[in-house]
Symmetry: C2
Subunit: 471 residues, 2 copies
């Protein structure tokens, strides 16, 4: 429980209607999309402007109360669970797009704006905000920035980080700083903008962002290529890029994923093959036509058993939506669904897929794999049951082996989900102790009292990873 | 002078032939491309591998001796001058390209590789490394990374930062860390990769880098548009982008710059007009043709008096080379040439050019302006004489006013040259004290003894900027 005078001060800042500490409210914000990390906050505050956030952070710093900034809580790394209690800080009153600047191709927004709403708002002006995390219908742009969210268009267009030009941030001491701006170039000191992107709310609270926009590609086309052989599908991925084509999207789904996604979405996905690639190219009509033709050829050369171009944008959108629903679909299958995020260099996708299947067999567990193959970003997903302790031990061992294998192949423990509390025990695999020490130094410099989202990124113990989703 | 036992230890690490402390050697490395900051180092060391660099940094940390990592010293912000003495650390033995990976589209390189050599090496394989600083014929890739160098292709392709995927870095305490990798996505903790890019050698020594490559655009075309009116040229810049076209290059040169560049390069540049835009588009032939057609139209609509498409790649290359030689050309004109780097949102280029001319008139000094107009990145350049103290005072006042104006327009004090020692007194204009404090915290965390390139980025006093180039 918060000290009573702190509660009074917080209410004085945000108003009574924007302070909650009922049990019901606390329960709502005790978890994010990563259920097994449930932990109760002491209160939930919804500030209405930067000045209020600055006052809140000063207070919390003084009282040493944890602050967990939270968008819609769709992250899959236990990045927004109030593990050490304290205050959950919501962006729900900061939901305005402040400006779409068509001359500088930028959008300036508050953090609580819904991602899909933002994408549609710029689309109306013929502009394009590429990052499209699977959760975009629910997620908030501030959460995307905190997590450096990826998405299906990452291969050609990069991730959230590549679109953040400037930020307003409240630091733990209450200082308000502005980084970058509507600027294509800015080298005035260290790159604070990109340091805050993906810092998972551990360094400060982002209160405003200026994002880069692109002209909307004129057209796009989607291909579905079917394979009787996982390896052939994975090899196609490398072959496309080696042929100097960078598709906008290059997704991989294996048979078990296909099956459950089709059961869920019922759009007529093939479920008799071992794997599919969902490939999309965008741009001007001639280039798209040419690239799609070449890609189809490369798929066939690499033993695709069938290659079909989506007949309409409606059909293509259905395919994309089906792909985005993979987690929801898989989560229906077994009581516990562990969605992982292991990323390797693109050339190692075939090896990684083989290793995942070998490891699954070794530990006698059920893993299906899908993901952003063009980015080397795979989501091996384990369907299990958390109540079966013996199986869970095998699952844990298997996942650890998958991470170790990813890193051994030149990869990383998380390509787009973040570290949060869930991956913290594995961070040393990627960074070594010296790398973690360097990051701890930054954390200490910004937040010496460790009030900002404590327990995230940096592991306290060797606590193992926990399941993502449970029925 | 270094303590004698330190000298002996350094020689034991790098070998006698890679340690220099003769007066002649020290003189050579007492300045970079920013002459008025000359200051003598105590020694120059040229390590041959990462382990040697680690040993050197440990020693220097122990003895509290400054280390200045230095590529070719082409920076224009006094970023590599040994202001507090100590050791200049050269990359000249670290000149190998370690791998060009055509499947992952990456190049892994040591820091001492010449930028142009790197660009040509990947070009031979049909690949493209876009960052092209004007100094690329001389500069080293390690220096480019330290400075986050820009270039002529920044508008469409971004700057050095956008191509650095992974680094090996030796920290001031001797720790060797590896960040990122051949990975399109990696969110394992804070973005150390981008923190090191542009950190001007103040946080550690970069010993290896993995850079992203693109497929080489099939073709490119170049337009030269002539204007009798500066404002019309500046407005064309915004109009092109507002029309949803992102050219690869969009350069601006005013009449005085044109005149001196033509005198220097003798390629037949028009010298009778007030300004030119040099515009390039690349991509597949149809898109380039279409974009170039539209761009030509937009130029005419915005009152270009002549618009011509370069007849051949040789002609286009001559134009680019002429543009890259602007600094060398201008430096011949008067004893002292002050090349500045003020950047504004693209939509403010017209206002900024007008302000520069108004400020030049107000202080009765001669400024000509060129730069990467598409990026809003202008290089107002003052031809003066450092021996004329009275004029220099006016120059200083004028430049300060230019920076203040750039920031007031939503711009920055440096778009691509870095802060170094030269811009340090102005950093607060962009960042405020809270922003500088946040950066100081990072510096302190990495380098508590301040051995890495001391005197850069952070101002000791309110020392004013100094001239760039003197005949």
């Amino acid at each position: 429980m918060l000290p009573i005078e702190l509660k009074e001060k917080l209410i004085a800042i945000v108003g009574k209607e924007n302070y909650q500490d009922s049990n019901a409210s606390k329960l709502v914000y005790s978890f994010d999309a990563t259920p097994q990390f449930q932990s109760m906050p002491d209160a939930i505050v919804s500030p209405g402007n930067t000045s209020e956030i600055s006052q809140i952070l000063k207070l919390c710093n003084q009282y040493r109360i944890p602050i967990v900034p939270r968008g819609s809580g769709t992250n899959l790394s236990a990045g927004t669970t109030p593990l050490e209690g304290g205050i959950v800080l919501l962006f729900k009153r900061l939901i305005n797009i402040l400006e779409i600047d068509e001359e500088n191709l930028t959008i300036t927004t508050q953090p609580g704006v819904n991602t899909q709403h933002l994408i549609e708002a710029v689309q109306e002006k013929g502009l394009f905000y590429p990052p499209d995390p699977s959760s975009m219908k629910i997620s908030q742009i501030g959460g995307n920035i905190n997590e450096n969210s990826g998405g299906l268009r990452g291969l050609k267009y990069g991730v959230t980080r590549d679109y953040v030009l400037g930020l307003e941030v409240v630091l733990p001491n209450g200082d308000i700083i502005r980084t970058g701006g509507k600027l294509a170039k800015d080298v005035a000191g260290y790159d604070l903008t990109r340091l805050f992107v993906g810092s998972e709310g551990t360094l400060g609270v982002i209160t405003e962002a200026t994002l880069k926009l692109l002209p909307m590609p004129e057209t796009k086309k989607t291909i579905l290529a079917l394979y009787e052989d996982l390896d052939a599908a994975a090899k196609t991925v490398s072959a496309i890029i080696s042929n100097r084509i960078i598709p906008a999207t290059l997704e991989f789904l294996d048979q078990p994923t296909l099956q459950v996604v089709e059961d869920f979405s019922k759009i007529g996905l093939p479920t008799h093959v071992q794997a599919v690639l969902l490939i999309e190219q965008d741009g001007d009509p001639q280039s798209v036509e040419r690239d799609i033709g070449k890609i189809a050829e490369i798929c066939k050369e690499n033993h695709a058993v069938e290659v079909s171009v989506a007949g309409s944008e409606i059909e293509a959108e259905a395919l994309r939506t089906a792909r985005r629903s993979a987690l929801s679909a898989l989560a229906r299958l077994k009581p516990t669904t562990i969605l992982e995020d292991a990323t390797v260099p693109r050339s190692e996708v075939a090896n990684m897929v083989k290793a995942i299947n070998r490891i699954a067999q070794k530990y006698d567990i059920s893993i299906c794999t899908f993901g952003h193959a063009g980015d080397g970003n795979l989501h091996p997903t384990c369907m299990t049951d958390a109540r079966d302790e013996e199986e869970m031990k095998r699952v844990e061992k298997a996942l650890q082996e998958i991470f170790e294998h990813a890193v051994a192949l030149g990869g990383t423990i998380t390509g787009e989900h973040g570290v949060g509390a869930m991956k913290a025990p594995y961070l040393h695999l990627k960074l070594g102790e010296a790398g973690i020490d360097a990051m701890r130094g930054i954390k200490q410099a910004f937040d010496p009292n460790n009030i900002m989202n404590p327990g995230k990124i940096f592991a306290k113990s060797d606590r193992k990873r926990i399941v993502v989703s449970q029925r």
